[in-house]
Symmetry: C2
Subunit: 358 residues, 2 copies
């Protein structure tokens, strides 16, 4: 059973999670590559302590030969580095009503790092994928309880996704060894998919001859309206545009104040389904929309910048909004799409600003 909560009162459990985990402060959308410490972090249990010299990655299951690799072994393999936008599947959850109780993200659970590592595919091929293989399970070192079920965090990928050229075993973030909170010494990195897929603190990869049916695959990360339905799995990132809130904030309310001068609204947009086709901006609460100028993507699964010059006509309160659509035809909804787990709410961001005369 899950618990729900009305919009205005967040619980101590939600606060405990919000104090541990953190989002991207939206002004940090200015950085094409998010600095460490500004990229969102969601840790399901505790950050494990790993002694890198003792750590090994095990690869087994339906393979011709099992592999055991040290960090040095992995670093000696072919390496690639690419900017990838990661977003938490629970981003937007705190905007839902009723609100599923879990990490209460508003819209800040995103970041784009330059991830470096070795392709998973060549490692799987070296192990020799069995003919019966259908799924690949990734097990992390982080242990905890959820609804009474003790577990290490683990999730699987269908074999064809695991064999994509751009799926990485990452040991670097922004040119440095992974920070503890991002999975040191090794994590999976699946570009285009929500963050829960990119298992951190990897301990074991297991090739399976049937789809994995564990807690994080069956009980979590499903788009359910009712508890008794299976629901489709959460997979790729839905399109979203975010704006760096313009002007200056009030400390407590975060409400923005802006001078009556020409300004430029800007931000980033991304989708895990296809490149961003367009971003539109509204300065009248969604009454009318104008196209923003796109800056282009640094890589296939990296966000794109956008900008929209705006000249407020008069002092007053304005509700700004932005929305993205991708080349696969997905676009952001105006109303939050609701589900029991509070996943994948990519409803349009709204930013209220008070424009004052100068």
């Amino acid at each position: 059973m899950r618990d729900f909560q009305a919009m205005t009162d967040f619980t101590i459990e939600e606060l405990q999670l919000a104090a541990r985990n953190h989002g991207l402060p939206l002004e940090a959308l200015r950085y094409p590559i998010t600095p460490v410490g500004l990229h969102f972090v969601l840790t399901h249990y505790d950050i494990p302590a790993v002694a890198p010299q003792d750590w090994r990655l095990q690869l087994g299951g339906r393979v011709a030969r099992e592999l055991t690799l040290s960090l040095e072994d992995l670093r000696a393999r072919p390496s690639i580095r690419r900017p990838v936008t990661l977003e938490c599947a629970g981003n937007g959850r705190a905007r839902l009503s009723p609100r599923p109780l879990s990490q209460p993200w508003l819209e800040e659970a995103v970041g784009t790092a330059e991830w470096g590592g070795t392709p998973l595919r060549s490692l799987l091929e070296e192990a020799g994928i069995g003919e019966s293989a259908v799924d690949v399970l990734f097990t992390g070192l982080d242990r905890g309880l959820e609804e009474g079920v003790e577990q290490q965090y683990e999730r699987s990928l269908p074999l064809e996704e695991a064999l994509r050229d751009d799926v990485l075993l990452a040991y670097e973030m922004n040119g440095e060894p992974l920070p503890p909170q991002h999975g040191f010494p090794l994590r999976l990195l699946v570009p285009g998919w929500y963050g829960m897929t990119s298992v951190k603190w990897l301990q074991r990869i297991t090739v399976l001859d049937q789809p994995f049916d564990g807690f994080q695959q069956r009980d979590r990360y499903r788009l359910r309206q009712e508890e008794d339905e299976a629901g489709p799995p959460v997979t790729r990132i839905q399109p979203r545009a975010l704006m760096s809130p313009p002007g200056i904030p009030d400390f407590l309310s975060r409400m923005r104040t802006l001078d009556l001068v020409p300004t430029v609204l800007e931000g980033r947009a991304w989708s895990g389904w296809a490149p961003i086709a367009g971003v539109e901006v509204s300065t009248d609460g969604g009454g009318s929309w104008q196209p923003a100028e796109l800056g282009g993507q640094a890589a296939t699964w990296s966000w794109t910048s956008w900008r929209y010059p705006w000249e407020p006509e008069a002092p007053g309160t304005y509700e700004l909004a932005c929305r993205a659509r991708d080349e696969a035809g997905n676009e952001q909804p105006v109303e939050p799409p609701w589900n029991l787990g509070g996943y994948s709410n990519n409803a349009v961001q709204r930013v209220t600003v008070v424009v004052r005369s100068t």
Copy 2:
């Protein structure tokens, strides 16, 4: 006027702050030097965008000669590097009842970084401190509104504190340039004092011939019981011990589960008044206390580690607690000390664990 809130319902304003700012996940107490991204961060307004080549530090006011320094100028000066424990003055605020509305820290607003920079004192001496000087004002680049007052964040230090040998103009954290959220390119670092003193994104230092009376000095960071009293200023860090919660967590409640085996309770303790004299641990909710073993401090204003071997006698629920006292005779209270701003609540941490048979 301030707003208050009952313990069980946190507001959207508090959540917005908690999603932007973040604490030290308590398992990260294991690191003697906190990795970037795990150290607490409190940004009053927005993180400013600074182009380091255009940035200059201005030093003026009651001095014989004004100075303008580039980042290269500062880096060319004598440098020192030292581990310093910083804590937010609002740490513990979310445990108060009624609860002042602001950043709702539980107890995680702490971290110990190795800060590198140049001593403030020699710079002040080079500028020539005027005879009438009493206070030194530090102005950051971060702008915002608080209770309708538009401001750049600024706070002062009494001259004698500013002239302490260990007060730094810091341009490095853990051997790297400051991350944006910790004050890039330059911040003040005042060991022993709560974090609001160590002004980030420094733009200007002004030597004053009277005590600074601005918003962050007069309206904030005062220990008031009533709105109309001045109240003593918040200055040095009160003693606190924190424990890494043992065992494994439940995802949502963060409640801990522990096996019935010998375990070691451990954590860190610090005070801004004097070295830590002792840490005591209770495993019966504060009914009895036993001394923990201290690990020693890496530097005067850096935390000390502590450990306490514990063998739970039987399965069941235990309330663990730890408390520190310093060599100046300050010790942690059992009940939260209340004030209007919710500052400096160093009441004893309590951690509930369920011990299960193995």
